[in-house]
Symmetry: C2
Subunit: 284 residues, 2 copies
């Protein structure tokens, strides 16, 4: 497995692969790899000849009061995990090459980023689309794999790829969960044992909400309140609960079609997100 630091070296790796007729899949990560990331690597390996995992804690997607500096960076363990899961290269770009001092170009998606995390984390998605563009142009993949836990991010990346004509196929992979249902996240390591237990309310509330909708509950406001109440009673501080069309991410006027329920909530100082998506057929 190659460890690559320089952008030009990364580009050469992929160009050389392509000349040999091989396809390349990229799994972009911020490191602190958990089973969710590892399942993306496994997926990538099934979809392409060569798998590249990028590890870069992207400063521009963190807000000024967020956890950039304390974001966990267990780089040796991450590299070992990539090797174990059969990655062909790990791309570890340096911040000073990804963002030169006079760096001044940004990529921004303006529609799908208006609600959900886009509303509560101003600038976050601008950082995401910019860094993913930089990573795409460095790794030049045929395929890139993203997880559905960051559902809005995944939609935004798909839109960006379409709009900017990136010759890349995006594969979305299901959220991987702990046995008790908590969505895998690098930020779970921040939780105290009690917060960890309380945080299960997120998943529980999403499942209840889906059941309620499937069993005929119609009022979007009530469903939203149900989720908020369940999280609050468990000691969580709700950032948002949104019930939206899973393609446009626009709030739904009524419960039909492709539904996404997305939640962000603080347990202690840790902000966690999760979501559930399902379809309600409009017939009958």
């Amino acid at each position: 497995m190659k460890i690559i630091h320089k952008i030009s070296e990364m580009q050469k790796f992929s160009a050389s692969a392509r000349r040999k007729g091989k396809t390349v899949a990229l799994v972009p990560t911020m490191g602190c790899l958990h089973k969710g990331h590892l399942s993306l690597i496994d997926k990538a390996k099934k979809c392409a000849d060569l798998t590249v995992v990028s590890i870069f804690v992207n400063p521009t997607q963190f807000g000024p009061k967020e956890d950039f500096s304390k974001y966990p960076r267990p780089i040796e363990r991450d590299i070992a995990q990539c090797r174990k899961h059969g990655a062909d290269a790990v791309f570890l770009p340096e911040a000073k090459e990804m963002y030169p001092k006079d760096s001044s170009t940004w990529v921004e998606e303006l529609m799908l980023t208006r609600g959900l995390c886009g509303r509560s984390r101003p600038g976050h998605f601008k950082g995401v689309t910019t860094v993913v563009t930089k990573l795409f142009n460095a790794a030049l993949p045929d395929i890139a794999v993203f997880g559905k836990k960051d559902f809005q991010q995944a939609r935004v990346i798909c839109r960006m790829v379409r709009d900017l004509n990136f010759p890349i196929r995006i594969i979305l992979h299901e959220t991987v969960r702990e046995k008790d249902g908590l969505a895998m996240s690098s930020r779970n390591t921040y939780l105290s044992p009690e917060e960890r237990k309380n945080a299960l309310a997120i998943r529980r509330s999403l499942i209840s909400a889906k059941s309620a909708i499937l069993s005929g509950r119609k009022k979007i406001g009530c469903i939203g309140k149900m989720i908020r109440d369940e999280i609050s009673s468990a000691g969580g501080r709700v950032d948002y609960v949104e019930i939206v069309d899973s393609s446009t991410l626009e709030p739904l006027a009524k419960l039909s079609g492709n539904i996404l329920i997305a939640v962000a909530s603080f347990f202690g100082k840790t902000r966690l997100i999760d979501n559930i998506d399902f379809k309600i057929s409009t017939g009958g």
Copy 2:
């Protein structure tokens, strides 16, 4: 010579070239090709195995009161010219594929676009960087060739390519001029015979300014006024005259180093731009 309309077909053309070990150069244009464009094609042919000319009148780089709808589109003649100059493909994307209805992703450069045409044409460069990104991802060139008449555009594209890690080498080509000095431009066709004659004041004033600076004139304000006066006396309406560092495009405090004098001016309703760049050694 291939005529390509679909983005996916364009991508296949370049991917297939690359698999055969061939390099691709792109000459992005808005059509209405003149000798300036043709010199870019000639240059491209010397730098790469295959030359692609894109012709796309990009709506998003025109302001609401600008000449998008009346911009000349002599497409058959353009195609004949490309063929004559040995292009291997002409890429003619359709607006509805370049900008789908719900298109919502933009690329923006924020530093080099603050002055000059960026100030007088709000949104112009955002349209340029966005469409050039789309064209780069469609044509996937190794090399792209731009003219120095649009000096600021060229600098912005170079910055974007560096910032976003595009694996593309940008080649800048000298401005091609009519025998009497007028910079070639598709917009010259708008000029009446009298405006055409008066417009020579732009080039004349730039040459005088350069001479004045080289012969020791130090006051930036006076040099600027000299240019303005010469253009105004010829009946032109000055949009801007700026004397800037040719790398940063920031206004100069004193006349030394790499100097760019850039002018935009209306003759009748037609806005023309031109520039001159030169170096003053700071020693002695």
